[in-house]
């Protein structure tokens, strides 16, 4: 299988359609910088994988390589596609076309089926392009500059999938499964031990309960006496007993309160009914009566004084009227010996005597008011003390009445308390009797509680036998689980041993394979001769889990650090070519090199050309892009062209319209044979 042709349009720097028909033997592509030589390698890679791997930076300024896959220059391409065509040794073609619009016309599986065979590595198509296309950018990066683990992985991938390559993953799965089973066994074992610990604690508690056991029948009698209608079933009877006990305790508390209340009432009654208290109450009643009488007498005196004052004040009003009349009469005087007031015939004397008599009468009438007022005030003064006395006596009598009412109310509340809590009314007035009753009831509750404890203990007996059988079963289970843990631990150990052995055997297989390709690396290194003194290069593999592949020259020196850039590239080429040649999983015999001679001097470039010529001799198709026309000439001369595997040379450039195109295409014919044998061409020369 080799490349037949590549056709691109609107791809990268190719605006117009360009087709390159590769020579079956070799193809040399030449052109100045930037005309698109590398794009032809890109196109092959893109056709196979759908991407281009050469850029280490995937994104820049929010743009990725994908934004630059297709033509972005002046003008509009007629189409956007890449077609790569391969042809096998029987002449059967296999073509892949990827368009911008529709993607690939081949699935990755189809492409892999055509281009890979046998036990392929992971990500086979990527590995195929990585090991088939040797780019300037990657010569050092993919060889000397790789970390040792990456280098190991690259070589291992190039070797393809090895026998038993999936065994490592499966062994890991077996370890995980065995560990999971072991974890489950351990968890079950721990859970059983935890249950056993619980049961052992219960056993101890039950044992303690058993130590309190007594006469069960006596206890039952006690409970029956305390709760005549208790259920027969033991647990229910125990529950009823505990309820009854709680009720008795509550009742005892109420009875205690009732005793307290009864004693308070009795004390108050005793105080209230004492002879001194009764005498005091009678004295208070008598004092009230006396005070009431004294008050009434004083009130009568006041009434009388008020009546007298009224009368005096009435007489005083008459005297005032008379005074006005007398004064009027005096002013008028006798008129014709007649009284001006009553027209009676009067003499002056009589008139004067009448006036005098009147004035006396006025004086007598008015003089009684002052006395009456004084008498009333005195009476009122006299009545004040009896009023105070009465008030005091009434307060005292009221206080006695209040005390009695309070006592009666307390007595009623006491009765209500008895009623409310269903206490025996016989003890309402008998706190001592009630206290005696409390003592009796407490005795009964203690007996009930003891009986309940005894019954509890009797239950513990049956519980104990259940716990003991459970403990025995648990011990058996723990024994079984311990064996399972031990077995699963053994399984984990065995699984890890399998995993270790798989790793070791795989590592040995890889090491052997690497050892097998080591001479190839050395031969290529010797052919390329990067260094005049260090003529050999060695693989060195280290590590068990992580594998390292280091390259050493001379006396264990790392070429990465002792070689010049040109020497590093030459050594890198040797490495990449050995990886390319070691692939056994692809029928593709095409090697593409994109400008492999940068930084390499003419002498080493010549060595590279000789190496490529040697690869050609092995029937490989060499496709090489170079900038230098002289180097292209050398390649065209040195890479063997035969009638069946001819060579081609393409010169590409940018045409006047700004599009890249093939400006020269040339078949490289086979060279003449038998040149030196041609006797006619021999000259006689002297040996001097």
């Amino acid at each position: 299988m080799r490349l037949d042709f590549i056709e691109v349009c609107g791809f990268r720097g190719f605006r117009d359609k360009v087709r390159v028909d590769f020579g079956r033997g070799f193809t040399v592509i030449t052109g100045r910088n930037g005309v698109g030589k590398s794009t032809l390698c890109d196109a092959v890679e893109f056709a196979i994988t759908g991407s281009i791997d050469k850029y280490s930076v995937e994104k820049a300024a929010k743009e990725s390589l994908n934004d630059y896959l297709w033509w972005r220059g002046e003008g509009t391409p007629k189409a956007h596609f890449v077609t790569a065509s391969f042809i096998d040794d029987a002449g059967k073609p296999f073509m892949i076309t990827r368009t911008r619009e529709a993607g690939s016309d081949r699935s990755p599986e189809e492409i892999q089926a055509a281009l890979c065979s046998g036990p392929v590595p992971d990500d086979a198509l990527k590995q195929l392009t990585r090991t088939s296309i040797i780019r300037d950018e990657w010569i050092a990066a993919l060889s000397l500059d790789l970390s040792e683990t990456e280098r190991f992985d690259l070589v291992r991938a190039a070797l393809g999938a090895l026998e038993g390559s999936g065994a490592g993953g499966r062994a890991k799965e077996v370890v995980v499964a065995a560990e999971a089973a072991h974890s489950r066994d351990e968890a079950a074992y721990e859970a059983a031990r935890s249950r056993l610990a619980d049961r052992l604690a219960q056993q101890s508690e039950t044992q303690a309960a058993l130590s309190r056991s007594g006469d069960v029948s006596e206890a039952l009698r006690t409970i029956s006496a305390a709760i005549p209608d208790a259920p027969i079933e033991l647990t229910a009877r125990l529950a009823a007993g505990r309820n009854a006990l709680a009720s008795v305790r509550a009742k005892l508390s109420r009875m205690g309160e009732a005793v307290q209340l009864g004693r308070e009432i009795a004390a108050r009654q005793a105080t209230f009914n004492a002879p001194e208290a009764a005498a005091a109450r009678e004295a208070a009643s008598a004092a009230l009566e006396a005070a009431r009488r004294a008050k009434e007498a004083a009130d009568r005196v006041i009434t009388e004084a008020e009546q007298r004052l009224a009368r005096e004040e009435e007489a005083d009003a008459i005297a005032a009227s008379l005074t006005l009349l007398v004064e009027h009469g005096e002013r008028l005087g006798l008129h014709d010996d007649h009284c001006p007031l009553c027209a009676a015939h009067r003499t002056s004397d009589e008139f004067a005597a009448g006036l005098a008599a009147a004035r006396r009468r006025i004086a007598s009438l008015s003089s009684g008011v002052q006395d009456a007022r004084a008498a009333l005030a005195a009476a009122r003064d006299q009545a004040r003390q009896p009023a105070l006395d009465l008030e005091r006596a009434e307060a005292e009598v009221a206080a006695h009445a209040n005390e009695e009412r309070s006592l009666r109310a307390q007595e009623a509340a006491h009765v209500d308390f008895y009623t409310q809590w269903n206490l025996d009314h016989r003890f309402i007035g008998d706190p001592d009797g009630l206290e005696h009753e409390i003592a009796t009831e407490r005795d009964r509750s203690i007996n009930l509680e003891r009986a309940l404890l005894v019954l509890d203990a009797s239950q513990a007996v049956s519980r104990m036998s259940s716990i003991e059988s459970e403990i025995s079963a648990l011990r058996d289970e723990i024994e079984r689980l311990a064996n399972a843990v031990s077995q699963s631990q053994g399984a984990v150990t065995a699984a890890r041993e399998i995993e270790r052995s798989v790793k070791r055997v795989s590592a040995e297989v890889i090491d052997e394979r690497l050892a097998q390709i080591s001479p190839l690396l050395n031969e290529l290194y010797q052919r390329l001769r990067p260094h005049a003194d260090w003529r050999t290069i060695e693989y060195s593999i280290r590590g068990d889990v992580r594998r390292f592949l280091s390259l050493k020259v001379g006396n264990g020196l790392n070429p990465q650090f002792v070689f010049s850039s040109g020497q590093r590239r030459a050594a890198g080429l040797a490495f990449l070519l050995s990886v390319h040649l070691a692939r056994a999983w692809t029928p593709l015999r095409s090697l593409l090199l994109d400008d492999p001679v940068q930084h390499i001097d003419d002498f080493r470039a010549l060595h590279l050309v000789e190496v490529l010529a040697a690869l050609r001799l092995d029937g490989r198709q060499i496709i090489c892009a170079v900038e230098d026309p002289a180097l292209a000439d050398l390649l065209c001369r040195r890479l063997v062209s035969t009638s069946t595997e001819g060579g081609r040379r393409f010169d590409i450039d940018i045409n006047p319209l700004g599009a890249t195109g093939v400006v020269n295409e040339e078949e490289i014919p086979p060279l003449p044979v038998g040149v030196l044998r041609n006797a006619a061409g021999l000259q006689v020369v002297s040996g001097t």
């Binding site: 038993g164 995980v176 699984a495 795989s506 297989v509 001369r637 044979v673 038998g674 061409g681």
Partner: protein, 176 residues
């Protein structure tokens, strides 16, 4: 070791046509393939090589000058191989510098040629890739079985037969 004979054997193995003619300086082996042609000159010592390679080259080219003139571009693919069994460590670099002279022919110059491998290394630029890694079957299964003698064989068989991991673990003794 006859260096010339060994060189001829190697070149013939590599599909070259070879023949020898004797020049005044000694025998010269000619070789030619579809792409290359050239001459192998053997010297008695490193000094003789250093002193005589130019004359030997000139002699061979002169003898074939007419043929080479008619060979077209193939005339650019002429190799002059200068070999000697003589040892001259102090002059080996000087000898190899001859190869960097690009005038007239591509040159291969080596001293201390004592075994066939030395001849082969010297002629490598003319030969196809010699190392062909034989990546055969690795007998992974039998090697793994041999390593796992202490593991029950039914478990190893189950493992190698892609039996589910949990089942392999069960066979190994994990019971839960």
């Amino acid at each position: 070791m006859d260096i010339l004979t060994q060189a001829e054997i190697l070149l013939r193995d590599a599909q070259y046509e070879t023949w020898t003619w004797t020049a005044s300086t000694g025998p010269v082996t000619c070789f030619e393939s579809a792409a290359l042609m050239g001459f192998v000159h053997v010297f008695d010592s490193a000094e003789a090589l250093i002193d005589g390679w130019k004359a030997s080259q000139q002699l061979a080219l002169a003898r074939h000058s007419a043929s080479l003139r008619g060979a077209g571009t193939k005339a650019w693919n002429v190799y002059s191989v200068f070999l000697t069994g003589g040892r001259a460590p102090s002059r080996s670099r000087e000898i190899e510098r001859i190869e960097e002279d690009f005038s007239l022919t591509r040159k291969i110059a080596r001293a201390s040629i004592s075994i066939q491998d030395d001849v082969e290394k010297a002629l490598l630029p003319l030969l196809s890739i010699r190392s062909k890694p034989l990546l055969g079957a690795s007998n992974f299964e039998s090697r793994l079985r041999s390593r796992l003698k202490d593991i029950p064989s039914d478990a190893v068989t189950a493992f190698l037969n892609d039996t589910p991991a949990a089942e392999v673990a069960r066979i190994l003794g994990a019971t839960s």
